[in-house]
């Protein structure tokens, strides 16, 4: 099939991301014009004076901009993790959410929040994600040869357990609005995202995501399995565990600010693959870019669709992602 040039798609997505971020910041109950948004942001960067009142300026700078930037970073991180996991496990259904990493990360995050150690939030989420992933792979392995569907089944079991414990911990401890709290961890929500969330997610993208994006060639060598990768001079176990740990780390950082948002890691790498083909040197950065654009709009929908009520963004991503997941399943029925 005719494919798009990766460079062209990359440029288009980079522009789309910038435009999406700017437009998304202008959307919301308080009506703020495009140019006002940018003059307000510029004023915070030390250029000129904000044209907005203090309250409206606060809406742009304290609420909407950090939320939109966090959405972009979370989308990029989840899509990147999904693409890496799909390659390294040779499983087209691999995704941080389906394999239980996101639920594990949420459990880790909720546990330290309960202990009052919020500083450790991303670390705890990482440990939760890593434990959940290990458990999923062990469980899948104990069912026989590790196949994509067995891994997803194991992931569902691990995910269900982690989610149940998360919900239990919240109901048992929180005195306020437990239901809302549970929902935002289990379905994912960016409503609480402020500048610290931008910091955590951006650091994860820059420190872990970008080096991971440079491993495309290594991931390509896994297309025919471990033996071929090894024969091409790849250190198979170091690469596999290093990249799975990196995926868990990125997922942990994202989930610690957003809760577990599903399907982003599953569907966007598949979409990019359809457009530019399976080569990972293009697939990884393009999945991250598309993931960023996708989640900016998914979150914008989540907060405006039923204005003034807000729905968890995970509902939006699941509405879009679940049918695509079903499609991928039916397409694979012969080989699972």
């Amino acid at each position: 099939m005719a494919r798009v040039s990766p460079l062209a798609l990359g440029s288009a997505l980079a522009i789309a991301l910038l435009v999406s971020i700017t437009v998304a910041v202008t959307i919301g109950p308080a009506d703020i014009r495009f140019d006002e948004v940018w003059r307000s942001i510029a004023s915070h960067l030390g250029i000129g004076v904000s044209p907005l009142s203090e309250l409206r300026d606060g809406i742009v700078w304290q609420l909407r901009l950090p939320r939109v930037l966090t959405a972009a970073a979370v989308g990029a991180g989840l899509a990147l993790s999904g693409a890496v996991m799909q390659a390294i496990t040779r499983n087209p259904l691999a995704d941080p959410y389906l394999l239980g990493l996101s639920s594990g990360a949420a459990l880790g995050a909720v546990s330290v929040l309960l202990l009052g150690a919020a500083v450790l939030l991303p670390l705890a989420a990482f440990i939760g994600a890593l434990l959940a992933l290990t458990l999923t792979l062990l469980l899948a392995g104990s069912l026989g040869a590790i196949t994509p569907s067995r891994t997803v089944l194991a992931g569902i079991a691990v995910s269900a357990l982690a989610s149940a414990i998360t919900s239990f911990v919240i109901f048992w401890s929180v005195t306020g609005d437990s239901y809302r709290e549970v929902l935002s961890w289990l379905l994912g929500s960016l409503s609480g995202a402020r500048w610290p969330a931008v910091g955590i997610t951006m650091v994860a993208i820059i420190v872990i995501g970008i080096p991971v994006m440079l491993t495309g060639r290594l991931l390509d060598s896994f297309a025919f399995g471990d033996v071929q990768a090894a024969s091409l001079g790849v250190n198979v176990s170091a690469t596999r565990w290093g990249l799975l740990a990196a995926s868990a780390l990125v997922t942990g950082a994202m989930v610690s600010v957003s809760g577990s948002i599903g399907f982003v890691g599953l569907i966007l790498p598949h979409a990019v693959r359809l457009l530019v083909g399976p080569g990972h040197r293009a697939l990884l950065p393009l999945s991250a870019l598309l993931g960023a654009v996708f989640l900016v709009w998914a979150d914008t929908l989540a907060r405006t669709l039923f204005d003034p009520r807000e729905i968890p963004v995970g509902i939006v991503t699941a509405m879009i992602g679940a049918p695509i997941f079903a499609f991928l399943l039916t397409r694979r029925k012969s080989s699972t």
Binding site: R90, D220, S221, A223, G225, V227, S231, L232, G233, R273
Partner: protein, 261 residues
Amino acid sequence: MSDNSGLAAERIHVTTDGTLLIDNVDCTVARGSLSALVGPNGAGKSTLLRALTAVQAPASGSVTFGGHDLLGMPRRQRARLAAFVEQDATTDSALTVGMVVALGRLPHHSLWEADSPESAAIVTASLETVEMTTFREREFQSLSGGEKQRVMLARALAQQPQLLTLDEPTNHLDIAAQLAVLELLSSLRDTGVTVLAALHDLSLAASYCDHVIVLSHGTVVAAGATESVLTEELIADVYGVTASILRNPITGKPVIGFSPA
């Protein structure tokens, strides 16, 4: 120190889950020869090939090629020296033929450098060698078994190896494709590459290979020049069948006929 010696393996042991699969194997493959590794199912041919190329390192033993310690050298350096084509390689990925062959350039590049024109030329030349140039943009998965095997061979050639090992390269192929693969291996041998292939078909081994290594129950039971090794007695011993060594009236090469013991 690099020298002109071929592949030399000594005291190779391979154990998997507590079972000894390869038991104290010594074997050599002369530089620039085409050799066959034969033996009944379960003799340990695949295991030995993987051990020799350190794809799955043996529990103990040494393997040298041209005086280089194959097991001890850095992985990428080894992958530039020795290529391995596994049996029935499959993928779920929609890689094109060109991309599959380009995988062979992996040990020659650092991770983030762009594809060099030199590498692109080597990929093209490798595809030419296996006569798959026109398939470059086709999806690997859409190819026939024989075409896939030729692409995997081109991938190995793109590594520019001096040693090429193949596990059952004629498996599941029709006769014409089997002969095409062996013809290719012979012409590679003629360009100076040392080739070792695990083969099931003893007649193919007899007509194409300079040397034969016979493996049975994880040990080498015979090795040497093809005609001196593949005798009716040895085949009866190793395979438990009655063999008759005949002559191909056209090529003059040995052909082996079988009947139950």
